[in-house]
Each structure stands twice: as C-alpha cells, then as structure tokens.
Subunit: 254 residues, 4 copies
C-alpha cells in the first residue's frame, strides 16, 4: 500500500496577527512544521499550535527560518554555515521545549523559506543545518527538498530524511522546482495538481515542464496553509489520496 | 565543610557587542546563568558561552528575560502568568539545544532582571515560571531570590531551588533586598562585602540595613559580571572563600 | 453647525500580516492615526497607508507605541519620561518621512495602547510626549483622552490638542473611561452607541455608568478598525452624523 | 587650499551596549553618520549622539542600514529597490526628528554596511536610495562610494553627493575597493595609510594594488570608529591634514 506524509507549515501567526486556517488544516495533514519565532510565530502561538497538533494526532516538526519577521523569512540573507547552524539549533530547542512540556515528541525539522532554498543549493549551508538537527537529536527526520543538497547532506551524515514534493509547483528536467520567476512555475489548475500528486505518490515520478517523465522521491507532500482555498484544497487532496488507497502518515523516527 | 555556589550572569553580549569579562570570570565561578536571546544574547553568543562553560567545568543555567533587548530586560512589563510561562519555556529550550548539542547538561534556570524582580513578589508569575521549569524538566534547579515568592512557588511545586544572595546588596529587616532607589542599597566597600558573604555562607545570616541580624538561606551567591572590577572582585571572593575553607560548587540536580 | 473628527488607528499590518479593513475605512473617517513600526506597522505598510490616506483626503497622524510588536503595544512597560520622549520622537520622524516624501502634511500625533493609557494618568509621561510632539513641530495637534493628564500637559505647553472620545466605551462620573476589567466597560448595542455619539457631539455631554449627565469635550471620535463589523459601523456612524447635520472634519493645524 | 571632510560612523551603541569612542572622535571629524536603529542605534543613543555632534559643531548625517541588529547590518539581504527606498526613508525621518528637535540640521545621508555595498554595485538599489534621500529633502548630500553606482544614480537624479574614500583600504585598477576577502584589502601600516590619504586629498589619485596610479574623487574620508586605536588614528590623520594645510570641513548643503 503506497503512503505519503501530508504536511503544512503552521504556527505562522504572531502576536496580534492570526492565521485562521491552522486549526482546520490539522484535520487533513499528518505532519505540522511549526514556526519558531524567527520568521513567524511567538511563544504563545507555538504553545497553542503544539497543543492543537498533539490533540489531533499530527506529528510535529520544528520549522526554523531566517531572523526576518518583516520579510517572513523569504528574503535571502548572506549567512555563514556557522550562523545557519546556530539559528537552526536555537529554534529547534525553542520548539522542542513546548513539545516536551506538552508531553509530545518532536519528529522532524524543516527549514523555512529562503533558508530552505539557500540550503537546497548550497552544500555548506545544507551540511550546517543537517549538523544542527543531528547534534540536537540524531533520531530526528529532516524534511528536504527532493533532489536537493539537503538530501545529499542528510545522506552523508546518516540523518534520516523525508524527500519533499509540492502539489502546486512544476518541476524542471533535472528534478528541481521551476523558479517562481518563470510564468509556468505554479500549477493553478486543481485537477492537474491532483494528477501530479497521484503520479508522485504512486509512481515516484513527475512530468516536467518540458513534458519529460522524471523520477522523484516523494515522501512528504507540502500543502500551502495560507490563502482562502487552502483548507478546501487540503480536504480535497486528503480525500483523493484516501479514495485511491494511499495511506497518509508521518514519517517514522528511528 | 560549608559550601556555596558562585554564579554569574553570562552570555549577555549581542551581535557586534561584546562582553569582555565572560571568559575570565569562568575561572572563579561554579555556575553560569546564560542569556537566551530575549534581553541579551544571540545564537552565536549562546553557543560560545556554553562551550566555554563546559570547557571550564562550570555548571550551566538558562537565564530567560523579558523580550526587551533595548532595555536589557530591566524594564518591568505587564505580562500575564501565561505569557511568563511561554517566554521562559521558549528560552529554556533554546539554551538547552546548545547545551545538548555540545554534550553538556542543563543544571538550573534563573530569571533575569525585571522578570526576576516581578516574579519575586508576584505569586502567580512565580508559579508560572516554576511551572515552565518543571514542565521542561523536573530535575532542574531554580535559582530564586532568598525569601521571595519564587522560593514559595518552588516549594509548593516540589521543584528544587537554590536560595540566591548578593555580595554587594544590603538587606532589609524582612530579608528582602533594599530597593535600588534607596541610597544604602549597594555595598561599595569591598571589605564589607566580603564580610557579608562570609557571614551568609558560614552562619546563613546577614546584618540588615537597620543593624538587625537576620536569617537568610544562602545557596548561591550572585556576582556581577559587568564593570571594570568584576573579574578582580570575583577572584577576591573566590580566594577568600577557599582560604576560609568554603567549598565552591554548583548545586546538584536530582 | 456642530462638527467632529472621525478617526481610526491604521497601518497596523506588519510584513506578511495584513489588516484588511484599512482601505475601506478611509471612506468614512477624517483622520488616520498611522502606526510607526514599534507596536505595529513597517516601512512598507507606512508608505502604503500614507498614500491611501492622501488619496482619500484623510488627515494623517503619527501613532507611536511601545516597542512591543508581540504585545501590540498593549502591555504596559516601566519606561522613564525620557524614554517616552525618545520613542515618540523617533516614531513621529519615521512617519513624517513618508508623509513628506508623498507630498502630504502631518496633522496630529496620537499615542497608542498602553502608552496612551499610561500617559493619560501619569503627568510626567504626558509631559514627555507633549514635549516630543512640540519639539518636532509646535503646529502639530495632540490627540488626547478627554479629561486626561495628556490634556493637562498639552494646555501647559501650549500645544493644540483634540479631546478624544469613544463610541463604544462607557464613562465614569469623573469623565474617565470605565476600566475594561469592569463588565459595563463596553457598549455593545449599536443604537446606544450612536446615541452616545450624538449626545457627545451635539451637547458635549455623556451619560455615565451611574446615569449621571457629565460634561465631556468631544473633538475627535475614535472608531475601532479591527473586527468584522468595523467598516459597517464606521459607515453607520458616518451616515448618522451627516444626516444629523454634523460636519465630519479633521482638526486644523495652526 | 585643498579641503576634505573627515567622517565617522557613530551612534552604533544599542541599549545597554556602549560605543566608548564616540565622544572623543567628535573632536577630530567634520561629519558624523549616525545609526538609525535598524543595524545599530536606538532612540536614546540617537538623541545623545545628535546632541554631542551639535555641541561639537560636527555636521550630522543619517546612517540607515539593513534591519539586522544581530548582524550589525553587514549581512547582505535580498531586498527589492522598493524595500530599500522604504527602509532608508523611515530611518532618515527617525534621525531627522532628533536633529530637528535639538535645533540642528540634517546635512547628509550615508547607507551602512551591506546596504552601502549592495547599492554601490546595483543600479536599481542605488536609484532607490537616491530617490528616498531626494524625496525627503533634495538639499541633502549623499555620501557615496567613489566611482560606484551610487555616484551614477546621484548624478542622474541631480542629488548632491560626496565621493567617499577610505584611509585603510586598498583600491583596484578600476577604482573599486579591493574585496575584504583578498589578503591585501587592508592597509595596516599607519604611515602608508597617511600617505594614501594625502595623495587622495592633494592629487585626487591613489596607487592601486597593482601599483597603477588611478584617479579618484575624494570629498569625504571615512575613519573607522571602533577598535582601540580609532581615536588615536583619527587624531593623527586630523593633525597631519591640518599640518599639510588641508581644510577639514563637511560638504555644504545647497
């Protein structure tokens, strides 16, 4: 029986600013990557999101980002591998505290936004993040962009990883995501998006922008949590996968 | 053989701003309370300070403060007990990550500045902080102002605590610190300061501002780390205590 | 012909977090108090909000708050008058830059949240804020809680002020707002709220919680911008006042 | 009579963290570029630094940086020209408020650190910064790296600029600074540094790393304010220039 993890970035509220979809999305996902206060999230949001995830039986991951609340962690910053290590380790610990205090278990770590992108192509940053995760707890699972330097670094270090794919992004022939600057970067048609997901899950393949069939390891599928249709789309994906006999479950720790 | 813990607030540098005394002070203390990024400290400073403390065999504590870098955590803020719980838990986790990754052990938690003062007199805040420490790890030791509400809360919850005293502050008849707004709040004469310390350690007593002899539990003595004489004074205290046959050691975890 | 200013706190979005009512509210108000980046707002939000206000012919004010984004400037902080002066001056200047660059004119200053409340009852803080406004530009108008220490300080300094009243808050016999901790602090019935507004505008009077008729100077009426009914309520108030022959206009600078 | 402006980046303290050289340096410089709270500085530091500069008759400039206090504004961030415009405008206004309130005059603007470097080579960022300065006040002077895109943008817009040179950096054949990653980037020999300064001032020339004589417009010379020798070096440069008959004065506004 094929299986996949459905994940969503969560806990990206801050102070007075809410993220209204979070609670509803928990019904359709198996893993939540929770912001840790640098690009979004604060101690109150973290506590509440961790509690909600535990209540719904959703696996919890730390979602560390760049220290740029205004830019939501999406603006690349010229940081050294050492700084990447330090900021990731800090944020993992902060989220871990809420998970521990609530009697839960931290299952994975996924870098956010620009940090995820930078580490996906820079071996030294990838290695620094893998080291931070591994040094904190070698039993954690790294969520890594399929085919990226993060996967390479995780393999080298012997850290378990889940290869991450996207429902609404197109892929290039080399398996990388089509850059957002390109007009064909996003899949806006829901039908096409569902088709891509099923092919990824059942065949570990995807049709690239230039119509080539390429191989892609699909362990975890990232759903976007913002936008007015996010909950509806999560529900649809969830139902489609279940109807097709796909098991939806978080990757297991050692 | 009488014993006491000598502690210092550490890791209060930030980014480009250094705290030059930290390294030298580690030679004379048994416990370091390390800032966690809210009132001072950042991921780089935390990593470096944790590494230095481990190298010198100094016990490590988390030193959480209010989210007020500009005010150095010294301006009181009207926070709820829930907010106190959340910000303390967050910061303990963040520091724990560096300690864990470096192969060390987190031994204690001490609130900083205004948070320490507020919780010392407000039972609900004291309870919230004690709960945060206990929920993270019931084996941790709380550093609590001697005779304060923090001590009361720790006792109620069954959390181990170390009663904290000061070398350079005077005490009132009820065992509380003379407020800094009073002219006689500080002991500026080194001789008198050393005398107070020895009396605290050997007799668990102190002479109050009004010359009464009062009882005071002295488990840990806080030295100030800033100022040009801080290292010299730490050295002198350390030597005086050793010469008097006092063992200098961190309080033990369960 | 009676007249009143209708104002709203605006530009309280931040980074990725939006405040969707702002644009629509501008159709019904005569003054916008725009956040300056401390409790809310950022350079992008400030630029956009200033541009929108100028386009709609709404008078612009700076809305400085405490440096506490997570607490939205609503948690009181123990700051000195000097610190209040400095943080208000900084924020006025920051907002002024966007107004100046856009070819507009800064008309007023209104402190936000906890800073507004603290200065309303503390003469030294009130004086510090009045001084900051006056030192920047003696032609600016201070928005001050009716009957508060802010009014007293403005009068002493010779700074023009607009006495601020609320549509949805009840008043005590001494003219102060009923504290939010009391069950009768808020007026939830729209009819009653409109009645209070009309009495304030036409008679400069209000019925207190204990049913006494008291005198209250009403120069500017603050509408709340958040909540799902905010725009609808602003529209209703605006229409009611216009229908009653009340002129809605911002207070004039010297 | 040849003349040059001697400038220093100032007001880069923050909260509890001091920058002890600032006051002493004011005796030897003609322009101070004062941090505005993003990469360093806070409202208290800004007020104090502005007051000190006015007292010493030193011309004042705003020194806006990237919003990265931990990185001291030295880590490049992927910001859009629009974001550059907004963050520079915000910071100019904030500093202007302190200058205005103290009865002084804002004379120039100089971008800090990574923002200065990025705008020096990126025409769109350079243009955005020039626009922010010009939109705030077309009479302001831009401090721009000699030969950089900032100079190009200032010329295009008709904004006055001062071409900035460095005493302790080497230059390449094309007039650009030798990158800090190269071993010969810094001039550590004081004699050689003074020689370079005199050649720049008297002949508007410099000897490049490869020993070519190149032309360089030298309107303002930047001295580093940190480090233990900063004050001593400023004093020496100042005396050397005065002894050589060079007038030390800030560039004049229109």
């Amino acid at each position: 029986m094929p299986s996949i993890d459905l994940s969503c970035d969560m806990g990206e509220a801050f102070g007075n600013y809410t993220m209204p979809n979070d609670e509803a999305l928990l019904d359709y996902i198996s893993s939540a990557s929770i912001a840790c206060g640098f690009h979004a999230g604060d101690p109150a949001v973290m506590q509440n999101t961790v509690a909600a995830a535990i209540k719904k039986g959703v696996a919890i991951g730390a979602h560390p980002g760049l220290p740029d609340l205004q830019g939501f962690g999406r603006r690349e910053m010229q940081i050294s591998p050492k700084e990447a290590y330090q900021m990731v380790l800090y944020q993992i610990g902060a989220l871990y505290a809420f998970v521990k205090a609530a009697g839960g278990r931290l299952n994975h770590v996924k870098a956010h936004g620009a940090l995820y992108n930078m580490a996906g192509r820079d071996p030294a940053l990838a290695r620094a993040i893998v080291d931070a995760v591994h040094d904190f707890d070698p039993g954690l699972i790294l969520f890594a962009l399929a085919g990226s330097e993060m996967v390479v670094a995780a393999k080298k270090t012997g850290l378990a990883y889940a290869s991450e794919v996207f429902a609404d992004r197109t892929y290039q022939d080399d398996g990388s995501l089509t850059p957002r600057t390109r007009p064909d970067a996003l899949i806006t048609d829901e039908e096409q998006s569902l088709k891509q997901v099923l092919m990824m899950v059942n065949q570990q393949q995807v049709i690239s922008s230039s119509k080539k069939t390429i191989t892609l390891k699909a362990d975890t599928l990232c759903l976007h949590g913002d936008g007015s249709h996010a909950v509806e789309f999560a529900k649809t994906i969830h139902k489609t996968l279940v109807d097709e006999g796909v098991a939806i479950k978080a990757p297991s720790r050692f």
